[in-house]
């Protein structure tokens, strides 16, 4: 036990993130009785899952000291891609989902290529990609005015976001699967070891035979994939794609990852923490909404709470 405590500061941070999420739920119950009803908890968790999906990709790239700023418009492009390829028809749905996820992977891979082979800083590469996707999405859809643009998500996609199986929301089943998959990939596989190795020391990783560019591209592709997946789920949740729907997910995904105890410098942290961070952020917003606070005050408190959480346990050790 003592050994566990002494060793794994990174896991301890995951613990803090989980505790923070639980405390925020309790706080919600205190200021707004009924907040902890099963129903409302489930709703909050479903909404968290959208941030959580994006955070999975963000977590991957932050673990190698990168960042993905292209989230907003990859997500948005995916959302519109799904609606225009499926046209709301059930039969087209599987194909549309495949194409959409493929789009995400492709864009992510291009990001990874730019970072790994062209040596463009991740901030610049993904920022440029965000602009490129924004321009393409707006331009090609005529600013979301195209005929197919107003199509609804196919019922199966809507069911994915709203429905439930075995008494548990489908969105949460999906998220659970993602949590298991991502955590497993990071802790149990060669791929995970290579990721942490690159995050800690890219040169040493290269000299130990890790194919740094390959892993980098894979991680950015995964981030594109998760942004696209979140786009699909959000279309399912809201029914339609809308302009700027990806905007909030950039900063929220980064905040979730960091509150989850992942070092923004790379190499340290776990996705489980980021998932807890996503829940914390969503609960916080819900509590503030439940308190009927004006917009501006919500925004301020949101920033204050993020900073407070980070000050409590998110500091870098002094070197």
């Amino acid at each position: 036990m003592k050994r566990w405590l002494a060793l794994s500061q990174d896991w301890r941070r995951v613990g803090y993130a989980v505790i923070a999420a639980i405390l925020l739920f309790v706080l919600g119950q205190a200021v707004h009785p009924g907040f902890l009803r099963l129903n409302s908890v489930a709703t909050v968790l479903v909404i968290s899952s959208f941030v959580g999906l994006v955070a999975a990709g963000q977590c991957f790239v932050i673990l190698i000291g990168g960042i993905d700023l292209s989230v907003p418009w990859v997500l948005n492009a995916a959302a519109i891609m799904l609606t225009v390829t499926s046209l709301g028809q059930e039969g087209r749905a599987p194909w549309a989902i495949l194409v959409t996820l493929g789009l995400g992977v492709l864009i992510g891979a291009v990001n990874g290529f730019g970072v790994a082979f062209l040596g463009v800083p991740a901030v610049v590469m993904t920022l440029a990609m965000d602009g490129i996707m924004e321009g393409l999405t707006l331009g090609l859809t005529g600013g979301f005015t195209c005929g197919a643009c107003s199509s609804y998500a196919p019922p199966v996609v809507q069911a994915m976001a709203h429905g439930a199986s075995l008494g548990f929301p489908n969105a949460l089943w999906l998220w659970l699967a993602v949590i298991l998959l991502v955590s497993g990939a990071l802790t149990l596989t060669r791929f995970g070891r290579a990721t942490y190795a690159i995050g800690n020391n890219p040169l040493a990783a290269f000299l130990a035979g890790v194919s740094v560019p390959g892993i980098t591209i894979l991680l950015y592709a995964a981030s594109g994939f998760f942004s696209a997946l979140a786009g699909i789920m959000l279309v399912g949740f809201g029914g339609q794609a809308s302009l700027g729907m990806g905007e909030p997910y950039l900063f929220q995904s980064i905040a979730a990852v960091v509150i989850g105890g992942v070092s923004i410098l790379g190499g340290r942290g776990y996705y489980l923490g980021a998932a807890a961070g996503a829940v914390s952020l969503t609960v916080l917003v819900s509590v503030l909404l439940a308190l009927d606070m004006p917009d501006y005050f919500r925004s301020i408190l949101y920033g204050v709470v993020i900073l407070a959480l980070l000050l409590l346990y998110g500091r870098e050790e002094t070197g």
Binding site: I67, V120, I132, G135, F251, S299, I300
Partner: protein, 328 residues
Amino acid sequence: MSEAVLTRRSRASHVVGQNIGLILAGSILLLAILVYIGVYLIQLHRLPGNFAVTSTVNSAMPLIFATVGQSFVVLTKGIDLSVGGVVDLSNAMAAVTMRNSPGSMALWSVAILLVGAACGLLNGLLVGLGRLQPIVVTLGTLSIFQGLAIRVLPQPGGAIPPGYTNLLVNPNHPYALIYVALLALAWMGFRRTRPGVDLYAIGNDEAASRSLRINVLRTKIIAYVLDGVLGAAAGLLLAANATAGDATTGNGYTLTSIVAAVLGGISLFGGRGSAVGAICGAFITTLIVNILFFSHVDPLFQSFYEGLFLLIAVVAGGVIGGTIRRRR
């Protein structure tokens, strides 16, 4: 001990090698100006006149100040995502407070710049004392500053006295260039002070700077405070341009200022670059928007071309810079 005196590079070669970022930024700016003139000539069959130049300069002004502010922080190996929030806050305050009297204008300008300084101080303290990463600190404070801005000015509106507009961004003549010159001059002065040297030192290597007894905390706070002041100045210029306030128009300056700083040759890894480059970068970014506008590019595609251009500029700049350094 030195029987072998190595051949030395010429002074010019050092100047070129150590200022590649700046030289590239200047070259891109020159190219952008030429393309701008060319497109203007083709579309309107005349050279850009006083009005076109003035409006270009004026529209670049807020970005120039925000970018120079951003540069102070980036030079310390940080990044400021909250600069958009500071621009919002300052913009909103200006629209609400400014009256049409010299006293009111002066007083409130100073007050708003001080608010900007306070925002920067908060960032600096959290980064320096709180030992948090700049990117997450400013992510949090962005939310706070934006909230405050909306509190000050819930709906777009308010009014900026015309006198203030004439003073800051004269709509008839590009007098605003004077402020750019003053900014560049102030920068060169700052570069030659203790904090100016320390700024570069901690961006180069923070641990080594500590060993050299450089006051890292003080230097970071100075950088963030100056960043805040310049962000607030950008907000004032934006308000003067629009002659009214809007608590959300500043948001875009966060990412645009980073783009402009990168185009201006400031390394995101810290310790390299100059505010003169940042000014070039801000002009380049503004000119691209104008070029796209005059080329009748579908405005919906605008971000696409901007993104593509940023990528090409950075990749090409890297290749050219690398080649020059090797060949030298």
